[in-house]
Subunit: 211 residues, 2 copies
């Protein structure tokens, strides 16, 4: 690991990579900082600063080598041998996520789903087997799952999080609107779609009032 990269830089590196992969597909071999910036709605300085932080140096007047940069970002943010991920709650959102991730990034592989509904247990969705919630602890350990994505109904969020922690999971991505608590050796990221929408609504309102 190079050093303590700012959280925001990590997020942007992930986004840069996505943009770079698209560039690569379109046959581009080099890209300027201002081109990356334009795509991400940020400034070119910020891009250059982020790349400086990870120690990548481009070619003056030619920009950055797309392939090299993709590889370097991979070295920074990916784990050497991939990370196994589980989805807890195979409902609407869980299914949508599995569908979405299926075959996307091989580095982060959803290898299991868990649910409480007997109708779902034993089935496979987009190649991901669904296990019973009671087998969660053992399955997580057996399959060496490190990250859990929570998409259960909000009322079960807390108990599922506790169970995940007990199973030895190292990171939780909580899509439930209910905040949960985890010990500090477990990395927790919570995202609430309503907050995003309310934020958009607020700025829309503000803009219409100040125009």
């Amino acid at each position: 690991m190079i050093k303590n990269l700012p959280h925001k830089t990590i997020e942007r590196l992930s986004q840069y990579r996505r943009a770079l992969l698209i560039c690569l597909d379109s046959g581009k071999t080099h890209i300027y900082s201002h081109e990356i910036a334009r795509i991400q709605h940020i400034t070119a300085v910020q891009v250059r600063r982020d790349l400086m932080l990870i120690g990548y140096t481009g070619t003056l007047r030619k920009g950055y080598n797309v392939k090299e940069l993709i590889d370097l970002i991979g070295q920074i943010i990916d784990s050497d041998d991939g990370i196994h991920v589980a989805i807890i709650g195979m409902g609407n959102l869980g299914r949508a996520l599995i569908n979405y991730f299926a075959g996307k990034r091989s580095q982060l592989r959803i290898v299991a789903g868990f649910d409480i509904n007997p109708d779902k247990i034993g089935n496979t969705m987009s190649g991901v087997p669904c296990f019973g919630i009671d087998d969660m602890e053992s399955t997580i350990q057996k399959l060496d799952i490190r990250i859990g994505i929570m998409t259960v109904p909000a009322d079960f969020a807390v108990e599922v999080a506790d169970k995940l922690v007990k199973s030895g999971i190292k990171g939780i991505l909580n899509y439930t609107p209910k905040p949960v608590n985890v010990p500090k050796d477990v990395y927790l990221e919570e995202y609430d779609m309503i907050t995003s929408l309310e934020k958009v609504a607020f700025f829309v309102k503000m803009h219409s009032e100040t125009e």
Copy 2:
């Protein structure tokens, strides 16, 4: 509008409200800053500071009046007469979102969905009618829709965003992994689930290396 609230404060206000609504249900009439803080994984000082910014003052030693605070946050972030929202792309994610929002916050009402698939057009999902993408501009204007949530395949993101802008939309929440461009009088929020997951993975990796 009180004043220029920091973006981060807006996000937290939305989250506070969610937590407060749950408190209200459980019969609590007052809440301390440190209780709110605990739920949101932040500090009590930050809560008090945010509330100071919106000019709410609690009762010393008794905390904040839950109901009053909910109402005040509503006055700050909600629009007086609600805002109409549309979902563009009634696939897995679009359906999940509609389901989720259905009957949640009356202030932000999903009043229409749009899709290109003839099988979906004309149907209703959880009470939300699905229109054809070709009717988007007229429908948005007719129903006074201000915000669009984009859940179309990434390849269509740019053209749909352009269309939304042309229709006079004021805010876009883009769940597509493809960044789009909008004029600066349109508020744009982009969220990428892969970035979130990669961020969690990074910190899991980092922690395991430095332990």
